[in-house]
């Protein structure tokens, strides 16, 4: 083996190993920020939305399956996840300037934040809901009479989950119905 070949294969192997370390490290760190414990490590989430979510079916239920913050608020597919994570970096700015650092301020911005999240969910046809809830696997026979009625007509009308299921994990702000109707949500 000539010196040139040795350097080439050496670089290749080193690059491969470094690639695994950096890529793995990046993904590992990213996943650390994708958990309930990370989301509730700031008091803005821990004191406002988290206690509300704890009373809902997505936190505690009959079968013990739990949907945590990122299951609904962060897309699963890598490319969509990265885009969302980059968008969410502005939250660091608002954390620093304290946009929602008191319950009063949080309440003041709740509608704005809710509208923005409803808009995001509607624009992707409630993709994050559908990671678990699939129309195809819904058995209408097992649903209550109200659910059957809504789901069977909803399908035909091309509605998406978030059109009706707003405020299922967090409390709804005053005047949300008018605001949502105005925004076409």
């Amino acid at each position: 083996m000539t010196l040139g070949k040795k350097i080439f294969s050496g670089t290749l192997i080193t690059g491969f190993i470094l690639g695994i370390i950096f890529w793995g490290g990046f993904n590992w760190t990213l996943e650390l920020t994708n958990s309930l414990s990370f989301c509730t490590s700031c008091h803005e989430m821990r004191d406002n939305v988290y206690p509300e979510y704890q009373n809902t079916v997505h936190y505690s239920n009959r079968t013990g399956v739990r949907a945590e913050c990122p299951d609904c608020h962060v897309p699963r597919e890598w490319i969509h996840k990265i885009i969302r994570k980059v968008e969410a970096s502005r939250e660091l700015y608002h954390k620093v300037v304290g946009t929602i650092d008191t319950p009063e301020k949080f309440e003041q911005y709740r509608l704005t934040m809710a509208l923005s999240e409803w808009k995001r969910m509607k624009s992707v046809d409630s993709r994050e809901c559908r990671n678990c809830h699939d129309y195809e696997s819904m058995d209408f026979v097992d649903q209550g009479r109200r659910a059957v009625k809504a789901h069977s007509t909803g399908l035909d009308e091309g509605k998406t989950c978030i059109d009706c299921h707003k405020g299922i994990a967090h409390q709804l702000p005053k005047g949300w119905e008018e605001a949502a109707a105005k925004a076409g949500l």
């Binding site: 079916v57 209550g144 659910a147 405020g167 409390q171 709804l172 702000p173 005053k174 119905e177």
Partner: protein, 128 residues
């Protein structure tokens, strides 16, 4: 000395050194047809689950189906006109504050037996 068999407390007649009976858990009734009233002016019972329904200053989840605006679309019973009057009998444009908190009068049902026997029967003329 008192024998456990002779003594009955709130705990029932279970001996202290034994585990008491686990109370039977009551389940909320599943979605069903409207339940007919037992007497005139009885607040209608809720024939479905209402777990997690938000009823507070900011929003009333019940009204998202039972309001005059929504009842046709949802197929729900509409809120009675009596709920739009204040205590002096004045008509209001919104649901009266004293009638806003639905679950003060309207309640969902569970598979529980009545604690006290009741033989009440409404008179025929106003039975529905």
């Amino acid at each position: 000395m008192i024998n456990a068999e002779e003594l009955s407390s709130l705990r029932g007649d279970h001996p202290l050194d034994e585990v008491s009976k686990v109370a039977e858990k009551k389940n909320w009734a599943k979605d069903g047809e409207p339940i007919s009233r037992n007497y005139v002016q009885q607040p209608p019972l809720i024939p479905h689950k209402i777990k997690g329904y938000q009823i507070n200053l900011k929003f009333n989840k019940c009204l998202s189906c039972h309001s005059w605006k929504k009842y046709r679309e949802s197929g729900a019973t509409k809120i009675s006109q009596t709920h739009f009057k204040d205590r002096d009998g004045n008509d209001l444009a919104e649901v009266s504050a004293r009638r806003y908190f639905c679950t003060q009068c309207h309640v969902p049902q569970a598979n529980a037996k009545p604690l006290v026997e009741n033989t009440f029967k409404p008179v025929d003329a106003v039975k529905n």
